[in-house]
């Protein structure tokens, strides 16, 4: 069963609908005991970093999540701010991240951009996987929906599994062991997103 971490943020129901259509069992997890049923975890998110961290810290799920991800090495997929929260820190806030991946979250520095570009990075953009495996198995020239002004910069280059160009080339998907993240929203990215979520379920 895939647990959709429900800490009051992010589109739990959109994930649930996609997995239901795929015939894959996925349930919202609001308590530690619901979370403990999981063999995979999705950590969604919309909002500012500190607000999301506060909601997660107050949800009563943090300890169980850490145990499942760090000790039991259960596959977890963080989405958007859910991905950013897995880093150690963020330019957007003062609270510590979950620290599941060696990375920090930086604000796009538009002064470095060659073209006149707007922030937030909003809309459909190309995602270039480093290899057509794992989350990106069978995905030819995928495009996804982005909505963000901050991006994750992993310390280890090998943790980057896909990049996207927006003023600079930035990390749009990461993997470090059992920890996966996408800066874009697969749950809102039509067939490209559905295929990625199916791939995660079948890892």
């Amino acid at each position: 069963m895939i647990a959709l971490v429900d800490y009051g943020l992010g589109n739990i129901q959109a994930f649930a609908n996609i997995f239901r259509r795929l015939g894959i069992r996925a349930e919202p997890a609001r308590t530690p005991s619901e979370l403990l049923q999981a063999d995979k975890i999705i950590l969604p998110g919309v909002g500012a970093f500190d607000w999301a961290m506060t909601r997660l810290n107050e949800s009563g799920l943090r300890e169980t999540l850490d145990e499942l991800v760090i000790q039991k090495k259960i596959d977890v997929l963080g989405i958007c701010v859910g991905m950013q929260m897995m880093a150690q820190r963020s330019d957007e806030g003062t609270l510590s991240g979950l620290g599941w991946i060696e990375a920090e979250v930086l604000k796009f520095d538009t002064t470095l951009f060659k073209d006149r570009t707007h922030l937030p990075h909003m809309g459909w953009n190309d995602v270039t996987p480093t290899a057509e495996i794992g989350l990106f198995q069978g995905l030819d020239l995928p495009r996804y929906y982005f909505l963000h002004s901050y991006y994750m910069a992993p310390i280890k280059p090998a943790d980057t599994i896909a990049t996207t160009d927006y003023g600079i080339k930035f990390t749009s998907a990461v993997q470090s062991g059992n920890v996966y993240g996408t800066q874009f929203h697969p749950e809102k990215s039509h067939q490209w997103g559905i295929s990625l979520l199916k791939n995660f379920a079948e890892l």
């Binding site: 919309v46 500012a48 809309g123 982005f146």
Partner: protein, 257 residues
Amino acid sequence: MLRPRIIPCLLIHKGGLVKTVKFADPKYVGDPINAVRTFNEKEVDELIVVDIDATRNNHEPNYKMIANLASECRMPLCYGGGVNTIEQLERIIGLGVEKVAISAAAVYHPDLISQAARRVGSQSVVVVIDVKTAGSSRRPEVVTHNSTRRSGLDPMTFASRVESLGAGEVVLNSVDRDGVMKGYDLELIDQVRNVISVPLTVLGGAGSHTDLSDLVRRHGIIGAAAGSLFVFKGKYRAVLINYPNRNEKDAICSSRP
């Protein structure tokens, strides 16, 4: 490469989907959830849904309807209508909506913009600016409450103010062009684009794919929103949900400079 966004804008009135002309004469065009399902199949870039009764009648947003829409949408959703407080805005984000639009509240309680940007992040805070040419000078002016109240504000000054307060996107909506389907107000769009650096989405006037291409040719990355274009077909305005297919969309996007 980031693409321009082509965005249907749906209006909710008395629980049904309607389309107006110059913000008046709402014509019933169908059920909101059915429309969302059709737009899912057509792989639309984004959807804007505005409850045009909420502010006018001083209602709370209809959270049940918003939750249903958000869970049906396989594309990002921007909700607007009756959002006046940070609590309402946070609750709507919590329902799984990516972006919340404020309009009258941005004019009358602009501190809501900065509050919202701090809590949910600028990327989810959209300000819809309804503009109508008004007065003897025929100058564009920001209006609210479905164009029943004039604010005295100049759209360019107001757009740059909402950006500095933390809005992550401006939706510029021309009341004069609403439902007219004869093209966007490109002059007004140029003026607003020049004073802000956040993403801009424009609404009001699109009547053909050529209108969308013309806009993209001029502005490259922009949100091209439309109501009538995506719910009516033909000169008798028969109700038919439609949207450019992948090839047509690529053609529109390829007109960018």
